[in-house]
Amino acid sequence: MNPFTKFLSELQEVSLLIWRAVTAIFSRPRYFGETVRQMDLIGVGSLPIVLLTGFFTGGVLVLQTFPTLEYYSIQNEAGRSVATSLIRELGPVLAALMVSGRIGSAISAELGSMVVSQQIDAMRALGTDPIRKLVLPRLAALVFMLPLLTVAADIFGLIGGGVVASSLYNQDTSVFITSVRNGITTEDLIGGIIKPLFFGLIMGSVACHKGLSTSGGTAGVGRSVTNAVVTASIWVIVFDFFLSKALQIVLDIKRI
């Protein structure tokens, strides 16, 4: 099978997986308990790494841009610069990549292990649909929790930027906050929330698909995990470009 055909085949399989998970929402049985458990695992469990990443990303943005802004005597716009970068772009993408590394790998490893140890077959033999029991709760948890994690990353990124601006460049905190408030628009916030919804769906479906299509024993599980993280990360970054363009058109985001 040539790479393009393989790509199309995989795209079809992932789309079918999403479709089957979405249609499963409308009929019983539903696994709310499992969904809440996944939300805890994905949301609460990923919070420390997402906050840390957000904080230092905001900090390094100010660290790198402040001297340039100062050169043009517009250092008071440092807050705007950080807020725009974080909320529109870096917050959603970095949160997605961090969660993809942590949760995407965990999902594909867990499902892959269940496949090779015949637990998925056992589940089906016992009358349970693995899409309902395993895929839907994970997809729902990712789609619901990733926007919340992104907001948390954005907030900690702004705090990190403010700390660096005030401690290393002696900028007054109120100047930084005012600049942030002037820089953020409602469209930015909406766009920053919409993106992680799609990223969560992409990451979850890729990780579940890779896990469920595992073959070749324990070595196959390792391959699935690597493929899941790499594929999900690439899809997130590629999709981010097209989603950004679509949001610019839909939300009419034109100004800096």
Binding site: P29, S113, S117, Q118, Q119, D121, A122, M123, R124, A125, L126, G127, T128, D129
Partner: protein, 298 residues
């Protein structure tokens, strides 16, 4: 199902009903329907033929031993029965119901009639022994008191009541298989499928697993398929039967000159085809060199 007649079963007529089946059929018309039936089933993965025109039946209360080397299509056969795979052509019937083209939703009630014992047990790692055995009942939202009663009954059957709170990683290989059997038996399925349940086990533990299969066949009238490549299993299952003595204890006895087991037959696969079908005695006396090499472990 025991017959006092000393009879040699001709492989060519093994698909015909035994006289005792016809007697049973008068009282219970459903008994005349085979529990499982394969009609000219074909399955290939890419260019690799897995099953090539496989046909057989498993009667009610009968145990069919499927023998063959690895990759011969044995495990695929039972995955087809559960609807985990679909054949390229041919028909599969469960209790006379053609399930060949059933969807996952349509398969759900069929799977409730079937218990499956996987090779390594396939226990859910994150669930305790109790929750593993109770899995099907929890999915059906059965009252917890009833679930516990049923779980204890099943664990008693496999003699693992003391392990009820253990996790799968704390169990030995044999214990995992027995928990797998207990899980498969919840809901008293009429059909039980064993996929190499004794592979890699020491002989006494393998014997215990076979005894459980014999008890199911002789005391609970369960129809089963027992996939194996070990001749020891064939010797146990095709020549011993379970009965209850005067003290109410289950005992195992060997078939003798006046008592011949007719509810256990052997089929042998080779490269996706059935090359033998009949009694264990016919198998052992077969002139086929492949069969003789298999029996002698060569």
């Amino acid at each position: 199902m025991l017959s006092s007649e000393d009879q040699e079963i001709d492989p060519m007529v093994e698909e015909e009903l035994a006289p005792s089946d016809l007697e049973d059929a008068v009282d219970e018309p459903d008994r005349i329907l085979p529990a499982i039936e394969f009609r000219d089933v074909h399955l290939s993965f890419d260019d690799n033929k897995i099953l090539d025109g496989v046909s057989f039946i498993v009667r009610k209360g009968e145990t069919k031993l499927i023998l063959g080397r690895s990759g011969g299509g044995k495990s695929t056969t039972i995955r087809l029965i559960l609807g985990l795979l679909k054949p390229d052509s041919g028909q599969i019937l469960i209790d006379g119901e053609n399930i060949t083209d059933y969807t996952e939703e349509q398969m759900a009630p069929v799977r409730h009639k079937i218990g499956m014992v996987f090779q390594e047990g396939a226990l859910f790692d994150s669930l305790s022994v109790y929750d593993n055995v109770a899995y099907r009942l929890h999915e059906m939202r059965v009252d917890e008191a009833e679930v516990e009663r049923e779980v204890r009954r099943m664990l008693h059957f496999v003699d693992l009541e003391d392990s009820i709170d253990m996790m799968p990683d704390e169990l030995s290989g044999g214990m995992r298989r027995r928990v797998g059997i207990a899980r498969a038996l919840v809901g008293d399925p009429a059909i039980v499928l064993f996929d190499e349940p004794t592979a890699g086990l020491d002989p006494p533990t393998a014997r215990t697993i076979c005894e459980l299969a014999i008890k199911l066949r002789d005391l609970q009238d369960v129809s089963s398929i027992f996939v194996t490549h070990e001749m020891n299993n064939v010797a146990y299952l095709a020549s011993e039967y379970a009965t209850v003595n005067e003290d109410g204890q289950v005992i195992f006895e060997k078939e003798g000159e006046k008592l011949c087991l007719i509810n256990t037959e052997v089929i042998m696969f080779r490269d996706g085809r059935i090359i033998f079908s009949g009694s264990d005695e016919s198998l052992r006396s077969s002139p086929d060199t492949y069969i003789q090499r298999f029996i002698n472990g060569k």
